[in-house]
């Protein structure tokens, strides 16, 4: 482009921009999707929103805590963003109680959310009969991933039952390889524990611990067994586990240096970035059997309350765009998560995502992630107990007592 036309073009674009500014619904969105893959995903939303006549103003801040702190302080300072990302959980419920969020009943009614929204998600976005958050994806923590090369070397196939899983771990360890890769950060130790509780303890026990927070369940022999099984996994880990991040841990599977890892479906990005193919280089399963429970979590946008008509219009447009089928598929394919709507075309997704979609179709399998059942401080207290139990020689009975203190009477 020669030097003459550039200023002209710029002027033209500025002019057009100024004009369209008056008509476009400006939406400033705070979120924490900053990596390459995540940015590619959020771009799908931004493009869809801009195409629908809006103007997406991106405010990406890495780290969930940072992004949420920024959003909260903006709300406290009287200068809220149009939308802010939170996890599908109880993180934003206090904002609802304080009357600081717009309700979305208009959009929900138009989109028939009542009909198809998965129940665990509906339960945390619909409070006192009104919708207060827009879910944008479904993630799941309790996935088991494995490196096919490592399993092949140990002469093991994908375990179809829990018993086969333990046998597989033994065989991989016997073959001189690292059987179980675990991240040393508390959130991921707790995640492994919750997955073990769900898939080895069963859905009922999981619910009585996290949902009902029943003292008797926590002190039961069945739960003690779960704790013992969780601790048993420790023997299959490697020396580099303490303090290692989850990405460095998944990297072990990607480079065929460890067998299994329990981690959320965001780990898929690590494999894909290294050009590994699901079903060929690595495998994935969530629990065992056709009725295995499927842990549900994810992300939502909340919309801080405003009396400004333009802001309200922008928020409604945003909510309807991000929940539309096309945007859902585009976003979640890049994100490695699953669309919130069941009525989407699953064939373009990889086999792990397809398995997730299939599992979600059965309401009996949908299980809320612990953060959707307990408030953040209780969830944190549980994590403190679990990490200490995992890293020291604390007895299961001791852990049970401490979990009672953490979970009950709060």
């Amino acid at each position: 482009m020669n030097t003459f036309s550039k200023p002209l073009l710029t002027a033209l674009l500025v002019g057009v921009g100024l004009c369209s500014d008056a008509f476009a619904q400006k939406a400033e969105v705070i979120h924490w999707w900053t990596s390459g893959g995540e940015s590619a995903a959020i771009k799908q939303f931004a493009d869809a929103y801009n195409k629908a006549g809006g103007q997406w103003v991106d405010n990406a801040i890495a780290g969930g805590d940072n992004a949420r702190a920024a959003a909260l302080n903006r709300i406290a300072g009287g200068n809220p963003p149009t939308a802010a990302q939170f996890n599908t959980s109880k993180q934003y419920h206090e904002l609802i109680e304080a009357g600081l969020l717009s309700d979305l009943d208009n959009v929900a009614a138009k989109g028939n959310w009542d009909q198809w929204m998965p129940t665990p998600i509906k339960n945390v976005i619909k409070v006192k009969g009104r919708y207060y958050a827009v879910p944008v994806n479904i993630h799941s923590f309790a996935w088991f991933w494995y490196s096919k090369a490592v399993l092949n070397k140990a002469g093991v196939a994908e375990p179809k039952t829990e018993a086969e899983f333990w046998t597989a771990l033994d065989k991989i360890k016997a073959s001189g390889q690292v059987a179980f890769a675990q991240s040393g950060t508390m959130g991921y130790e707790r995640g492994t524990f919750s997955a073990v509780l769900l898939h080895m303890g069963g859905r009922d026990l999981y619910n009585s611990i996290y949902e009902k927070r029943d003292v008797n369940a926590i002190k039961s022999p069945a739960f003690k067994t779960v704790l013992e099984k969780f601790k048993k996994l420790h023997a299959y880990t490697d020396a580099g586990m303490p303090t290692r991040t989850w990405n460095d841990t998944t990297a072990l599977l990607v480079t065929d240096r460890a067998g299994f890892q329990i981690v959320g479906d965001w780990a898929k990005g690590e494999f894909i970035n290294a050009n590994k193919v699901a079903g060929k280089d690595f495998g994935c399963f969530q629990g065992w059997g056709p009725k295995a429970p499927y842990m549900v979590s994810g992300d939502v946008f909340v919309l801080p309350k405003s009396s400004n008509k333009d802001v309200i219009k922008a928020q409604e447009l945003l909510a309807s765009v991000v929940t539309s089928p096309a945007a859902q598929v585009a976003f979640n394919n890049k994100k490695g998560a699953i669309p919130i709507r069941p009525d989407v075309e699953a064939s373009s997704m990889d086999i792990c995502a397809q398995a997730g979609v299939a599992a979600l179709k059965d309401p009996a399998r949908q299980t809320p992630d612990p953060s959707m059942l307990v408030p953040p401080d209780v969830f944190g207290a549980v994590g403190d107990v679990i990490t200490k139990f995992w890293n020291t020689d604390m007895k299961p009975e001791d852990a049970q007592n401490r979990l009672v203190a953490a979970l009950v009477s709060k």
Partner: protein, 293 residues
Amino acid sequence: MKLPTRRPAWSAHAALIPMGTTVLVAYIAGILWTVRISFTSSKMLPKSDWVGLKQYEVLFASDRWATDMVNVALFGVTFITGAMVLGFLLAVFIDQKVRFEGVFRTLYLFSYSLSFVATGVIWQWMFNPTLGIQQSLRSWGWENARFDWITSQDMAIYCVVIAVLWHSAGLVMAILLAGLRGVDEEIAKAAQIEGIPRWRYYLSIVLPQMGASLGTCLVLLAVAVIKVFDAVVAMTNGGPGDATDVPTKFIMDNLFERQNIGLASAASTTMLITVLIIIAPLMYARSRSEKNA
């Protein structure tokens, strides 16, 4: 040493107005607000109810908080001693009219220019037994080399000490060097003529004269100890278990992720009172000696 003036120095009062305003509007208000919140049941947003000492009860019943206090004490003693000794030695040795003084000085300060996050990440790699020093020693032939402190419940905290020491010793050196250079060179020459050995000269003559810079360093290091957070998070995230957990991390976790600002405020207030108990006698003694001088 302070010269009392006979009449009030209005310019001095006026010049201190920004400090007074800051203290009143930011610090006193902030401290009072924190203390007030510690008596409420505030979760994510501040509430103005009253629950008495309930947050403090939860705090002191917390096994994690008890471990945190022990950890920060261990960290503090080791780190402050190490940083003062290393910083002093570096300053003294650099002061020996060495060649390339500028290069050495910049080298030792380089690590200070990095954020604590970067420091934590790099030392996490170095200490990781399968990635870092242990792994390298083994791959170079030393089959049974062991350096897995970071995986140990007892030793992990010292890994954090080493990392933060690496980061901050350069600053201690810089401050002590500035103080060192304020000591009259004539005395050095006189000491040399007298035949006093160099090390004796530094220990018995120079050190006592460096009270100001030593005091500054001690306070800076103490502040760094109480506030140590980013390095811990980046390096070990408080782990393994709670072996490297520190009070500031407890406060941050409850302030943000756990949405429990009532508990976080109780923890902050407790830390503040602890600091007050430790430094108040020192400051009182200092102001007494200043009055008498």
